[in-house]
Symmetry: C2
Amino acid sequence: MVKLTSQRQALLDFINASNRHWDADELARALADAGTPMGIATVYRGLAALESAGLLDSIQLADKKRYERADKAHHDHMICTDCGAIEEFAHPTIESLQLSVAADRGFTVSGHQLVIFGLCRGCSNQGL
Amino acid sequence: MVKLTSQRQALLDFINASNRHWDADELARALADAGTPMGIATVYRGLAALESAGLLDSIQLADKKRYERADKAHHDHMICTDCGAIEEFAHPTIESLQLSVAADRGFTVSGHQLVIFGLCRGCSNQGL
DNA sequence: ATGATATTGATAATGATTATCATTTGCATC
DNA sequence: GATGCAAATGATAATCATTATCAATATCAT
């Protein structure tokens, strides 16, 4: 049975209080700075526990996994390859088209991940 | 200046001759078995060189990068979480919807990656 | 208080990928 | 054919995120 310990609560609060996407290392440092340090292994385990409890969402990027609030509806991501900003978007039609193309192949969908890479508005305008 | 050496040609031939998605380690072993061994670092560098030359495509999965032929049109992937099979699909409407949602945000798209996770037809039927 | 169970934390281990660096190869030029 | 240069190669060390190990600790019901 998974417990929502005070440390896990701290992790959850930290993420819920922000709009960012955090990786384990960033969280460990932020919590240490906030005066509530916890071992890095505990951070990893806590994040995994919170995610499997549905209290956090995550995106698995090429190199690392980043966690975000779970209190929103499903969405996908757009990542700026210049400044690293992560924007979220939801597109019901894209979702349903995915399901239909999967169904055509006899595929039982359990999840998906769509990431669009490019330059955000600000970085697109840098070059002007 | 990047050279297409005989070893890189061997890598390319190996991938082009198959329908699989290969990771660096699998390729190193397969090439060794085929009697043309090459250092693992050379495999990594060769794959990166071939990809940047547009001769190979790749998908970056959670843990590792897999390479595939580049002689097909752009497509996305469906991965069976049970048997590991990777199926390809193309869906022009999904593509164009992505571009339009990105444009709405002022985002200049350079690429994207869509992966659908689930059970392939065969594995879906296992449980019946 | 007693146990049973889950968590924590320090640290080792893992696994994919990249960096290092001395050596070798391929090619153009003399 | 010799020389020189730029790029490639290979063995191996290093990196980096993540997971495993394991002893110590906390939580909670009885």
